[in-house]
């Protein structure tokens, strides 16, 4: 360990070197004096001949050091001292950096958990892909159990495949019922995802057959095991009542596993073959190729790329489309990486998160420019320090390194605080996720990936902020600076120009973020103003789960009619009805393949038309105008012989499918029967507030019964919605205490989700844009204030020579305004280009909206003028006497 010894014996080596040099000089002087030179002259000559003693000693010492590391530590110590010496500067720089880095890290932690790690707990999750079927018009669909089985059995490029369907279970005895979200899955689910049980076992080979209702076993989640069984192993083998059927718990999933829908968490997994048991005995879902209700996940075979497997999937889907033409005609299928899958929260978050990440990136650039600016301002006052060091023989590269070390220190401190902020804010992803009913992954894990991102960010920031000041360091002429004793720290024209450029960049970046925020604010404002086509005020809603009560269609009908009757007697209630879907809420993508009399669909036309099951009085209650025909009535039931099914369609349906628009009396085929159109209602917004009209139809609840969807009861009241909500809950319990009632709320609240993305984008981006404008103006103010301070004596002289206040103001303010206008122009042009990417996320706003640009220009100008005003005012108050005394 030679180098170790060297470190410890280094003091001796250094001392030897110093002594030696001293002896050398002494000997030289002695010799020169012996030749008759006077002592003083000899000393000078000796030194001249020798060279720079300090630098040489330093270079001699460096031989024994690990130069890179050790001078780095020296720089570090010196940097720390510098930061301590200027606490105000350090605090401002560190805090703004922390703000910028914190915002970026937080958004990245969201992205990391939602997009980069969509299946936590799975082994090699990157090999797991989503298999989605495609309707003739390319719309993504789920798959049916039968289709999935064929895919599973015939695909070669796929190692294994599983299906899953999310479902709310009613768990517990008849009186204490809890709603628990789980998945119905095929037996190999855990194998495909590569998950090992935390306790007990997963589904055995015997439990993996396709025999319906044969295996009443479930796997529970780790959190559920902890909260309901105190993590006790006795839970394995215990019975659990789910939707009034008894299941046996066979195993517990590991702690970090939450299911197969990105961002959502599930607590129970039961075999898909048990579908009938948890849905009142109806297992048509497993036997009907048209009932596409499952999500399919596949694990790619070893060495196979997703593109290769996709070709096979497409080819096979086309074969199925021919072989099962009655159900699959025109259908195709594709494979998607999980983060592109249409199921889970990542789909709704992909757009907003990428916009957020970009804006945070811009914000960080502004922060960097600001800190660089501060550093440049400080560099001017440190010129002497640098000059002295250069005079003593420090190479310029050393000064550059010194500045970079200092910015690295700042960046690391900022990143530290930023990382803490991100940890503290990690819970906040919840705010971004619209309520789907399914509990979402509330706390994205702050993992190594996020930590690495922060570190990378800190390094990037250090270089970005340090580069300009570092290159500037030591550029000044040493002689000039040292000679110039009268004014400490004037900056060169070059530095001033650099700082000006930085301010222009800052303003430009701020303008981009402002335009983005402005567009989203306007979009949100307009979206809020769009009338959904129904009146959501003064309506209470509650979801009733028939499936978990094990109701038949008959029982559901009896219950619904009784509840409706009781509610209509409540004081203030003006209307009661029910349907299986609340417009503009989440879910409700139920559709039926229709065949319409006298209408021949185009080759790739999607005839899978969305529908809602409604009770009589629904349109009246929702205030959806009936254009022609009649509403459903209580006689629209199954008792007639022959069965006379009816439907009501919307205007878009008529426009699209009914020639001559004489809809009433036309026949439409679905569910294996011919329905008669009895009414036409106005279009409403079904899924999104900004959607184009969608063909849509309604069928009566007494003719079509789908227990798995449950029913939503609506109560319109003259009184308070709160009262109506209480009445709903109370009367539902009274009608049948075993029927679980969930999500009792107001209709306004339940459709708020439709505007959720808009609202979040508008408010978050406003905050970020406000922050960037503020930072840009601080930068502007800094530069202006500094330039006024620099020019104090110039102003003094000009005032003495008779300059008017206006002239002074002009000189001072013109620089600031020039910077601002330049920034505005550049920023606006960049914003035009950048915002084109978000146009699909805007509601009725063009990315080039002139009002937004005008507003942004106005705001920026006002704030910029304010930022210039204070320094300008100070310039006006310059007392010539005081100013000139500096000279």
């Amino acid at each position: 360990m030679n180098w170790l010894k060297r470190i410890f014996s280094r003091e001796k080596l250094y001392a030897d070197l110093s002594d030696e040099i001293q002896e050398h000089l002494d000997e030289k002087i002695e010799e020169l004096m012996a030749n008759g030179m006077p002592e003083a002259e000899a000393r000078l000559a000796a030194r001249r001949e020798f060279g720079n003693v300090l630098a040489i000693r330093e270079r001699g010492r460096e031989v024994w050091q690990f130069p890179a590391i050790e001078s780095f530590f020296t720089d570090l110590r010196f940097g720390l001292r510098q930061l301590r010496k200027n606490p105000a500067f350090s605090a401002v720089a560190i805090l703004t950096l922390a703000f910028g880095i914190g915002a970026n890290t937080t958004v990245f932690s969201w992205i990391s958990s939602v997009l980069l790690n969509p299946l936590p707990g799975a082994t090699h999750p990157e090999r797991v892909v989503a298999l989605e079927e495609l309707a003739p018009d390319g719309e993504s669909k789920r798959t049916s159990y039968l289709d999935a089985r064929d895919f599973r059995d015939y695909l070669k490029q796929i190692d294994s495949m599983t299906v899953a369907r999310e479902m709310a279970f009613a768990v517990g005895s008849d009186t204490v019922i809890e709603r628990v979200w789980g998945e119905l899955v095929s037996g190999n689910y855990f194998d495909v995802l590569g998950v090992q049980p935390e306790a007990g076992r997963f589904f055995s080979i015997a439990e993996r057959d396709d025999a319906p209702n044969a295996h009443p076993v479930v796997v529970i989640s780790h959190p559920y095991w902890t909260s309901h069984y105190h993590s006790d192993l006795s839970a394995i083998g215990a019975n659990i009542r789910i939707n009034r059927r008894t299941f046996t718990i066979i195993g517990v999933a590991p702690e970090n596993f939450h299911g197969s829908m990105p961002g959502e968490t599930f607590d129970i997994w039961a075999p898909a073959t048990m579908f009938g048991q948890v849905n009142s005995g109806s297992d048509w879902m497993l036997q009907d190729r048209k009932t596409r209700m499952f999500r399919a996940l596949a694990r790619l075979a070893p060495g196979v790329r997703i593109e290769q497997a996709r070709v096979e999937v497409q080819a096979f889907a086309h074969r199925m489309a021919v072989a099962d033409a009655d159900t699959n005609e025109g259908m195709s299928a594709t494979l998607l990486p999980m983060w592109q899958s249409h199921h889970g929260i990542q789909m709704s978050l992909l757009g907003p998160l990428s916009v957020l990440m970009s804006v945070c990136g811009l914000l960080l650039l502004i922060v960097c420019a600001n800190v660089a600016n501060l550093l440049l301002a400080r560099a001017t006052s440190r010129q002497k320090e640098f000059s002295v060091r250069m005079a003593l023989g420090a190479p310029r590269s050393r000064l550059v390194r010194q500045v970079l070390t200092e910015t690295l220190l700042l960046a690391i401190a900022g990143a530290g605080f930023g990382f803490l902020t991100a940890v503290w804010l990690s819970d906040s992803l919840r705010w971004l996720v619209p309520g789907t009913g399914i509990p979402s992954l509330a706390r994205p894990p702050i993992d190594v990936r996020v930590l690495l991102f922060t570190v990378a960010l800190a390094l990037g920031v250090a270089v970005l902020t340090g580069l300009v000041p570092a290159l500037q360091a030591g550029r000044e002429n040493v002689n000039e600076t040292l000679k110039d004793r009268s004014r400490s720290g004037t900056s060169s024209a070059r530095t001033r120009r650099l700082r000006g450029l930085l301010v222009v960049a800052e303003v430009a970046l701020a303008v981009i973020t402002l335009v983005g925020a402005g567009l989203f604010v306007k979009s949100f404002h307009l979206a809020r103003g769009i009338h959904p086509g129904f009146d959501s005020n003064n309506v209470a809603v509650a979801h009733v789960n028939f499936a978990s009560a094990g109701f038949s269609g008959q029982q559901a009908d009896v219950f619904s009619r009784r509840l409706r009757e009781q509610l209509s007697h409540e004081p203030g209630v003006t209307a009661v009805s029910y349907s299986d879907f609340v417009p503009l809420s989440v879910g409700g993508d139920s559709w039926e393949d229709l065949q319409i009399q006298d209408y021949v669909p185009g080759r790739s036309e999607n005839m899978k038309i969305y529908r809602t099951v409604v009770a009589p009085g629904y349109f009246d209650l929702m205030k959806i105008p009936l254009i022609e025909g009649r509403d459903f009535n209580m006689q629209d039931d199954r008792r007639h012989d022959p069965f006379q099914p009816v439907m009501i369609v919307n205007q878009e349906f008529v426009r699209r499918f009914i020639p001559n628009h004489d809809a009433i009396g036309r026949k439409v085929h679905g569910w294996g029967a011919w329905f008669t159109i009895v009414g036409v209602v106005q279009d409403i917004k079904y899924f999104q507030i900004n959607e184009d009209p969608i063909p849509y139809f309604y069928v009566p609840a007494r003719q079509i019964y789908r227990p798995e969807d449950g029913m939503t009861f609506y109560v319109r009241t003259r009184g308070s919605v709160q009262q109506a909500m209480l009445a709903l809950r109370r009367e539902a319990q009274a009608a049948d205490p075993t029927v679980p009632v969930f999500n009792v709320t107001s209709l306004n609240d339940s459709i708020a989700g439709a505007l959720y993305g808009q609202k979040i984008a508008a408010s978050l981006l406003s905050v970020l844009a406000g922050a960037s404008l503020l930072l840009a103006c601080i930068g502007l103010y800094g530069v202006m204030a500094y330039s006024v301070a620099q020019r104090t004596n110039e102003i003094g002289i000009r005032v003495t020579l008779g300059a008017q206040p206006v002239d002074i103001l002009k000189t001072v303010a013109s620089d600031g305004l020039l910077f601002t206008v330049a920034g505005l122009v550049i920023g606006s042009i960049a914003a035009m280009a950048a915002t084109r990417m978000i146009s699909s996320m805007l509601v009725s706003v063009s990315p080039a909206d002139p009002v937004v640009y005008a507003a942004v220009t106005a705001i920026t100008l006002v704030i910029a003028i304010a930022a210039c005003a204070i320094p300008a005012y100070r310039a006006l108050r310059v007392d010539p006497m005081v100013a000139l005394r500096y000279e």
Partner: protein, 113 residues
């Protein structure tokens, strides 16, 4: 500040000269510098101090040994001696230097004639 008329030595040149000089006779720093200057007829303007970092490098690489002692003029001096490794190193360096010089002169000769 460097004097413009001063020629930069190529890397390793100073070390080579030090080794060569010390090989002939162990010397201390000051004497070493005077010896090199004289031997080069003062053609090589060596900044006296620049000798010391070079000496430190040679010490570190084990090509020289140093010992404090007293000189003939009764002065406390640190005397440098070449080591076996130093001799080998010097031999290698001189050979490669001569090759290089030979190559350079071959290129330069035709121009002069």
């Amino acid at each position: 500040m460097k004097k413009s008329e001063q020629r930069d030595l190529f890397p390793g040149a100073l070390e080579m000269m030090i080794l060569r000089t010390v090989k002939r006779q162990p010397l201390h720093g000051y004497a070493l510098v005077q010896r090199i200057k004289r031997a080069s007829n003062d053609l090589l303007q060596i900044e006296e101090g620049s000798l010391y970092p070079a000496l430190q490098r040679l010490l570190k690489d084990g090509l020289l040994k140093a010992e404090w002692g007293v000189s003939a003029t009764n002065r406390r001096v640190r005397t440098y001696k070449i080591t076996a490794a130093g001799e080998k190193h010097l031999e290698r360096e001189v050979t490669s230097f001569e090759k290089m010089l030979d190559g350079i002169s071959r290129v330069l000769v035709p121009v002069k004639s």
